[in-house]
Amino acid sequence: MRIDCKHVWQYISAYIDGEVDAELRAEIDRHLETCEICSAVLDSTRNVVVLVADERVFELPTGFSQRLHARLDQELEPTGSS
């Protein structure tokens, strides 16, 4: 069976996560070998996934951890509470 581009796009995310079965993976791989458009879509989607996972993109606010643990200290060592 030949699969078309739209079919491939539906499985891009599962393909990236290794969640397509061997048969479908082989079909997609065959399609990608000859379809520059789909292999570009796959690459750019994978790139987006790699980029958003980089910890430089999402950083905790400065001092977040210190403030959290200071607040916890108040809770962990209550003065005068029962």
Partner: protein
């Protein structure tokens, strides 16, 4: 993100409950990032998310004896964070209606990706430039809430499908569908703009099927 360590967690919880309360700092530390970003995704406000994160940590501490160990500790913590965030939204009367889109999870939905063949390299070195980070954050912030939560836990905090489903109170199938949609939306939004950050090798070889530069 720090990988969860169930043995360390179980032992630490036992010791905290036995009186070594200061150990709670070490227990909660690996969960700080996912707590904050989950709340940020729900509340859209740094100060509010930070305050909710602190309240979450305290609730986790106060309820620690109720943790049964039948889910991962972090999953349990994140469900407390989610409840904290949803509670605040309800109180403020700002629960956004886009969660209704959950009803459409079953349909696979066609999407048309951005098509350009000249961008293949990941511009990781360009992340040193604040501009690229801001672009990525804005794109994720612009996603509907039900997609944003999933991207946050799966792709940013790198949690697995099962843990993401448990933390968000949705099925594993819904996690996969939403992640697929979210990545598709991000690809369509970001690919044309990220191309400019890529190391230049071959210029002007793009194929632009559905959109204009």
């Amino acid at each position: 993100m720090t990988a969860p360590n169930p043995e360390f967690e179980a032992e630490t919880i036992r010791r905290i409950l036995a009186g070594e309360r200061h150990l709670f700092h070490d227990l909660i530390r690996p969960c700080e990032r996912p707590i904050y970003f989950l709340l940020m995704s729900l509340l859209h406000n740094e100060a509010e998310a930070e305050d909710a994160a602190q309240d979450t940590a305290i609730k986790v501490y106060l309820n620690l004896k109720n943790f049964r160990g039948d889910s991962q500790f972090r999953t349990w913590v994140l469900s407390i964070a989610r409840n904290e965030g949803l509670g605040r939204l309800r109180k403020a009367g700002t629960r956004r209606e886009d969660s209704l889109e959950a009803d459409t999870d079953e349909q696979t939905g066609d999407y048309t990706p951005a098509i350009l063949t000249s961008w293949r390299e990941v511009p990781l070195e360009a992340l040193e430039r604040e501009e690229l980070g801001a672009l990525l954050r804005k794109a994720i912030d612009g996603l509907p809430e039900i997609y944003r939560n999933v991207v946050l836990l799966r792709d940013i905090e790198e949690m697995d499908v099962r843990e993401t489903a448990l933390a968000l109170g949705i099925t594993e199938g819904a996690v996969k569908v939403r992640l697929h949609r979210a990545r598709a939306l991000l690809q369509r939004d970001l690919a044309p703009r990220l191309e400019g950050f890529a190391p230049q090798k071959t210029a002007g070889k793009g194929l632009f099927g559905w959109f204009k530069r």
